[in-house]
């Protein structure tokens, strides 16, 4: 029988008592060996989706198959096929990195003779060999995340769920984790379902991206396709004198559609370039501190689909 590393979700819903629908009927398909970025602000439904796909939370409605198994009817088989590093790196502060891996190899049922070698191999792989015998309480955030990843890989899962794996990490640790995740998909054929609130992470790492907002997927595709959908670049200006801002807004309207995000910015019409805008501003005698041409980003996609920027969505969720 062919090994199925895919994730297939149809009409998945999760309602909490006295709460809104955290996940409101999502459909998605992740192909074997693909890295799927699930992008959205806090409270959008990303982690709830992960909990359902990893069998830790029963769905209210809909179906999901992970690695060929139904998450409701075949929970143990799903768990045997997946690895997961959930939002908080749930590590025991009093145990060492090696203790954690030893515990995990035993709980995952690895044969006795394999436990030690697998522990050594994974410590090496995530760069924690030297810190292996130190208590996790003394680890940095990046080290904890790397250990979390190693623990998720102990039983060689075919599908890997990473729930905001780089939140709070410094750029260096983030890049190291991205490289490891990319290597897992590329060399080991592991299917990766990655939730993130970082646009750059989804852009750099994911083969395809699903954008979720208020429990619904509002856009899906490769980062390139999604950005191409938005198509046109935008021009962002910073006025040298604040009293010119009104004139700049009026002038920018001649060249495209204002972004409406509080910036002096406009999505350029087809055929219009930065030079046209600069020339127009110059003719009006308006001085600028800065002007910048930006290619479309996933944040632009989010803005186009939801009417908010991802950052703005974070703030409104927190408020």
């Amino acid at each position: 029988m062919a090994v199925d590393n895919s994730i297939v979700v149809e009409g998945l819903v999760r309602e909490f008592r006295k709460g809104p629908r955290a996940v409101d009927g999502i459909d998605l398909r992740v192909e074997p060996g693909e890295i799927y970025g699930f992008l959205g602000p806090n409270g959008a439904g990303k982690s709830t989706t992960v909990l359902m796909l990893t069998t830790l939370l029963p769905p209210t409605a809909g179906t999901a198959r992970v690695a060929g198994f139904d998450v409701v009817k075949e929970g143990p088989k799903v768990r045997g096929s997946i690895g997961a590093a959930l939002q908080e790196a749930a590590l025991d502060q009093l145990l060492t990195g090696r203790d954690h891996l030893r515990l995990q190899t035993m709980l995952q049922g690895l044969p006795r003779e394999e436990r030690r070698s697998r522990t050594v191999e994974l410590l090496e792989r995530v760069g924690l060999t030297e810190a292996a015998d130190r208590k996790v309480g003394g680890y940095s955030g990046g080290m904890k995340r790397r250990l979390d990843l190693a623990l998720a890989l102990v039983h060689r899962p075919r599908v890997l769920f990473l729930d905001e794996p780089t939140t709070g990490l410094d750029p260096q640790s983030r890049t190291a984790l991205w490289e490891e995740v990319a290597r897992l998909a590329r060399e080991d054929g592991v299917t990766v379902f990655l939730t993130t609130q970082y646009l750059e992470e989804a852009d750099v790492l994911a083969d395809r991206v699903g954008i979720i907002d208020h429990g619904r997927i509002v856009a899906e595709g490769t980062p390139t396709d999604l950005k191409a959908e938005i198509g046109r670049p935008s021009v962002h200006a910073i006025a040298a004198r604040s009293q010119d801002e009104g004139r700049i807004v009026e002038l920018l309207r001649r060249y495209g559609e204002p972004l409406g995000n509080g910036e002096l910015a406009v999505r350029l019409e087809t055929g219009v370039g930065l030079a046209d805008v600069v020339r127009g501003l110059d003719q009006e005698g308006i001085a600028l501190d800065d002007v910048e041409l930006r290619a479309p980003t996933l944040d632009d996609v989010f803005l186009a689909k939801t009417g908010r920027t991802l950052e703005g969505a974070e703030e409104s969720e927190e408020a």
Binding site: T54, D92, Q108
Partner: protein, 258 residues
Amino acid sequence: MSVAAVQVGAVAGRSIKRTLRQPAMSVPPLVFPVALMLVNSAGLEPSTLLPGFPTTSFLAFALAVPFIQGALFATMNAGTELARDIQTGFLNRLSLTSLRGSALLAGHLAGVVVLGIAQAVFYIAVGLILGVNFASGPAGIVVLLIFSALVALGFGALGAFLALRTGTGEAVQSMFPLLFVFLFISSMNTPRDLIAVDWFRFLASINPVSYLIECVRSLIITGWDARALALGFGIAMIIAVVSLVLSAWALTRRMTRT
């Protein structure tokens, strides 16, 4: 060794390791009961002059108390530890493995029982060093260790139930004073038949903790008292069975994995 046995051992090993790495958890259950016993023995020694007092050594009489008091300490610590696993998401990590709920509970309780036995060995050693003569002899000490394991199992399961139901260490710890009330309204300081105040004697007589203490006490100062042993083991067994059923039920509610 079966996978389930390996898993139980792994969870128990972690439980023991955590306790040993936290002196604040491992030392008080040893030191405080012994300190209280020594203070009580020094202050209440004249009680042995009461007619009908079962021994001439109050220390021998009081040595039974640390076994139960220590079990209460260990129970609360174990419950708090499990609650912490729930709060930190470590239980979710365990839930994502092939670990069965029963193995998780068994492993957790195995750790509590091992520590309970270690505590009992310490109390016995303290008693022997202080000159207490165990009336039931070496075989009685073995029975005492078995009884300590049973009490640790029962109270440990009770702590697990509280942790699994409430999910917070604070809630588990808030039960500690209540359990201590049971200890103090018992025959810990005076034989029940010598308690002069009627209502106190009544409460001590309906308090199951009295019979747990008297079971231990009988092995130390009386020898082989079938009634005390039957009552002690019977009540410890009932506490263990009820607590295990409750904690197993609470675990199924807490581990909602499909």
